[in-house]
Symmetry: C2
Subunit: 580 residues, 2 copies
């Protein structure tokens, strides 16, 4: 085997909970208990911190030089405001009535109905930059009146009956990593709102080794699911940036796409069957991987964002853990050349696990942030062209053969393969961005992302349209931004575009960003893109749902909602715009 193939560090058979191949993650040792078909992690991954992404020991610290550079480039003035800690936030009194509390407790047990301020605050918001700014300022759009933690599908089903009877809105809550307002605590027209936290639904229910099918409960965080599957020699292969905290239920409810989507597929493609609790009753949809028995009802619950039901179990296509993992770094003259090469690769249909191309700006920033490599002096902006990451995973012989075919194809398309030290950089920092955002916010720098997808022929126009819109809006708001873009999900007919926007926080940053987001959304629709390729709708993308699916499409969604949730208690104000 050529030495550019390196064996993957296999996860230990004892079922320790570690992120799949992510050396940047501190190992967490969570023993896995197995009894019959049901396996549960003994301990569980921690919750998100207040007003921040990850745990304190993983926080990023910016160098003084970088802070100075940012201050100059973005016109920062003065220190960022201090963070209001959770204990200092004014939390309104719970609106949950004693009879409602009693009935909820009768389903899940009193210990699993939490209405103390700390529990309610921890389930009040997701992790968009606007959410973080709200938390940092101690001002939240809403706080749930209680957090309810069911322990089984049947308890979820009974909770929905209780909440319907008491006119309580229900926000299904997984990892809490939504960046589109998906878990915002909105009561709508109801008397109160509870967060229905699926955390306790944390079992591997069954595993069909021959078919490569695992049935998992939806409260499992992604690393927990990988640990349970890793013990059995399988992986899901789903590694979005939210990987450390996001839940399987959230992946399904938002049609998540991971960094390895080129090889493992989008999350929605992995779902063979779902079990869903709705106020109208329970369903199991999906019998086998492909069927012609009418409309595919799985596709109504995938992307349903808690507005049509609570997904409690997923039967997922899983893969054998890869024998080898190979990361390659490639350079292209510019973004257009890189996109053209990726298109050729996609059309050829040769399997690739990760396909990721940064534009000139992101390439330069990444090289500034990367640990200094010996003999690799920092290049000037644009001098390096554009970088791409190509990764292959699988059996050694196939990975080697595919690597050769893909390399030949990329070389013919003008690509240049970079030396090995560069190749590992991406994997080492792949889950680092949310920690960096916290550090940047501490330094007074606003950073947020947005994403879309379009066909190959639309992509340049889509990128230009979004860039112009965001630069215009933020410049008008007195904070000219730096914008970076990358392609991270590639299809035969098109690709995603993911934008990272950086500017000074300045006064009223949430309003400034909302204006930029409005301009970007309009530009996306005008250029024929989708308003979201993998973040979901939530509250953020609601204004474009009519453009996305049309008025009659909305009527169809409303009819489905009315059938499953006649009282409209499920996640009001998300996904489906109200009738005018």
């Amino acid at each position: 085997m050529p030495d550019h193939l390196r064996r993957r560090l296999r996860r230990p058979r004892s079922g320790r909970l570690e992120a799949g191949g992510a050396s940047a993650l501190a190992p967490r040792t969570v023993e896995v208990r197995q009894s019959g078909f049901v396996a549960e992690p003994h301990g569980r991954a921690p919750d998100l911190d207040w007003a921040r992404w990850g745990r304190p020991e993983r926080r990023e610290h910016l160098s003084a030089a970088l802070v100075e550079l940012l201050q100059q480039a973005l016109g920062l003035r003065g220190p960022a405001p201090a963070v209001v800690e959770a204990a200092d936030v004014q939390v309104p009194a719970s609106r949950l009535t004693p009879p409602a509390h009693h009935d909820l407790a009768a389903v899940v047990g009193a210990v699993h109905v939490k209405d103390d301020p700390a529990a309610r605050l921890s389930r009040a918001a997701g992790r968009s930059t606007a959410d973080l700014l709200g938390m940092r300022a101690g001002t939240l759009d809403g706080v749930p009146d209680a957090v309810v933690l069911p322990g089984s599908h049947d308890e979820v089903q009974r909770l929905l009956t209780v909440c319907t009877a008491h006119r309580i809105a229900v926000v299904p809550f997984g990892g809490g990593t939504s960046v589109v307002g998906g878990v915002a605590a909105r009561a709508g027209e109801h008397a109160a709102v509870v967060a229905l936290d699926v955390r306790r639904l944390g079992a591997l229910v069954s595993l069909d080794r021959e078919s490569g099918l695992a049935t998992l409960q939806t409260g499992l965080r992604a690393p927990e699911a990988e640990a349970l599957l890793g013990v059995e020699g399988f992986t899901l292969g789903h590694f979005p940036q939210s990987y450390e905290y996001a839940s399987l239920g959230g992946f399904a409810a938002t049609r998540s796409a991971g960094q390895a989507s080129s090889g493992y597929g989008r999350f929605d493609e992995m779902v063979v069957a779902l079990r869903v609790a709705t106020p109208a009753g329970s369903l199991r949809v999906g019998r086998v991987v492909a069927s012609a028995a009418g409309p595919d009802l799985r596709q109504l619950f995938l992307g349903s964002e808690g507005a049509l039901g609570v997904i409690t179990e997923l039967t997922l296509r899983v893969r054998p853990e890869p024998e080898v993992v190979v990361d390659e770094a490639w350079a292209f003259a510019d973004f257009a050349a890189g996109v053209a090469a990726l298109r050729k690769l996609a059309v050829a249909g040769e399997p690739v696990t990760v396909t990721r191309l940064s534009d000139e700006a992101e390439t330069w920033v990444n090289s500034q942030l990367a640990p200094a490599s010996p003999g690799a002096p920092a290049a000037a902006h644009g001098a390096e062209g554009c970088r791409a990451v190509i990764a292959h995973e699988g059996p050694a012989d196939l990975v080697e053969a595919r690597g050769r075919l893909v390399a030949a194809l990329l070389q013919r398309a003008g690509g240049r393969r970079l030396a090995q030290p560069r190749a590992g950089e991406w994997r080492a920092v792949r889950f680092r961005a949310p920690y960096l955002r916290d550090a940047l916010l501490d330094a007074g720098v606003f950073v947020e992302t947005l994403e879309t997808a379009g066909s190959w022929s639309q992509l340049a126009r889509l990128r230009d349209g979004v860039t112009t819109a965001v630069v215009g809006a933020l410049t008008t708001a007195g904070r000219p931004p730096v914008i970076m873009c990358h392609v991270s999900h590639v299809y035969r007919t098109g690709a995603s575009l993911y934008f990272t926007v950086v500017c000074r926080i300045g006064p009223r940053p949430r309003e400034a960003w909302a204006a930029a987001k409005r301009a970007a959304g309009d530009a996306i629709i005008a250029a024929g893109g989708t308003i979201t390729h993998h973040h979901g709708v939530g509250t953020e993308h609601l204004p474009w749902m009519a453009a996305e699916v049309g008025p009659l499409g909305l009527d169809v969604l409303r009819a489905v909602k009315t059938t499953l949730d006649p009282a409209g208690i499920l996640n009001p104000g998300k996904l489906i715009p109200p009738l005018d």
Copy 2:
């Protein structure tokens, strides 16, 4: 290039209408006119004959020896009944009222509202064996009161308004190849029923070469679509057995899967966007290949079988015409060994265009039916084990590399590659089966197919269950059958099973088959399979829809139907079972 790679006979650039690489099809020369983005075939493929599959010149004739063999094996007695010709069928008077006729004609023009017996008979039924037996006997379950042929999406939309006003049921009609009763002329509770034939919707509306996206009207027959795309150097790659006559609209409405589904995907996977006319108005669903903007509404119309709307346009993922096509024949010791090898191939994820495995019985029958090869004496039943077809299509270098990897994998799994003459046999006869069925019916032999899919771990049980059920039912009905089975669609987690059942026609054959089908359907559900993998629901599979999607799933489908078709005029009695 090794000599086992043979260049595909490319379709001529002048746009002649020929089947994609199917040498068995007589070439039809249909000139293609192009104006701007809209291309239409000048002439059009012919309609299906009365009570038969194809055109007279393609009819199959059984040898005297084969007929004698069949007579002995199946216990045939006496000649088959003569076929009642269309002109001799008693057709009931049309129930279309003069005002209704007037209003329909006002939309499409009088010439496109046909209520003569010949036109009505030609749109009365699909092509299941039960349909053919009904036609042959001159007894049909129903005949449409008229055939209406709209020329545009807007005309379809206006027709639905007229039909709603006049209480006329509408059966959307494409190629008429349904084998599940999907186009049966049922008025339901309505005053009359018309066949809405999309035949005139026959244009290539637009082609985005860079993105590989073609927008095509749904009345195009598959060979017509291939001819239009072939002029531009593209192919859809969708080759089901109904290829010669089936329409694009039918493929979408029934979730068709073609013989090359392993490489090109199922038809539902090719659909990026649809345009649909419904009584409640028109929709366009699908903006780009993948989106997280809520539930995927495309998946409601894919598989909707004309019950939720009339699909008038499809934006489809198309591929460059393959540079080379390689067919390989493989042998395995038995069906279980072949299935195990296909599973390994699917899990490895190496691209293959066609993956097809016949069981012992089908292998033997195919070798009896194949043109005699020099030096290949007929083997005894079972002596050849099981045959598989593996085909690769694409750029020469990739096809060669993939061929080597796949061959190594199949050899390790116990496969033995057969000499070249065997390899081409399948492609030469790939669309022959429906012609053979006609010849067998002429000889008094009943032949019908049914299909399902399941996960790899279910497959043996699924096959046994169906076989036992069908043999039991037909033996009870006094006609012990021969059953053959093949796998033709392979996924990482499972595969399809396709059964061909042969017995004597005997008395009341439709009733005998209905009993066998009931037993098979129950066995499929009991074994965890899907009631249909690629034929659709129609009337035939209606009894199992509740088992397939659950009672609440049916409520969801009914709610969608009520929203889009409040009067219930669209294809009544199909897809969605009536409320008890």
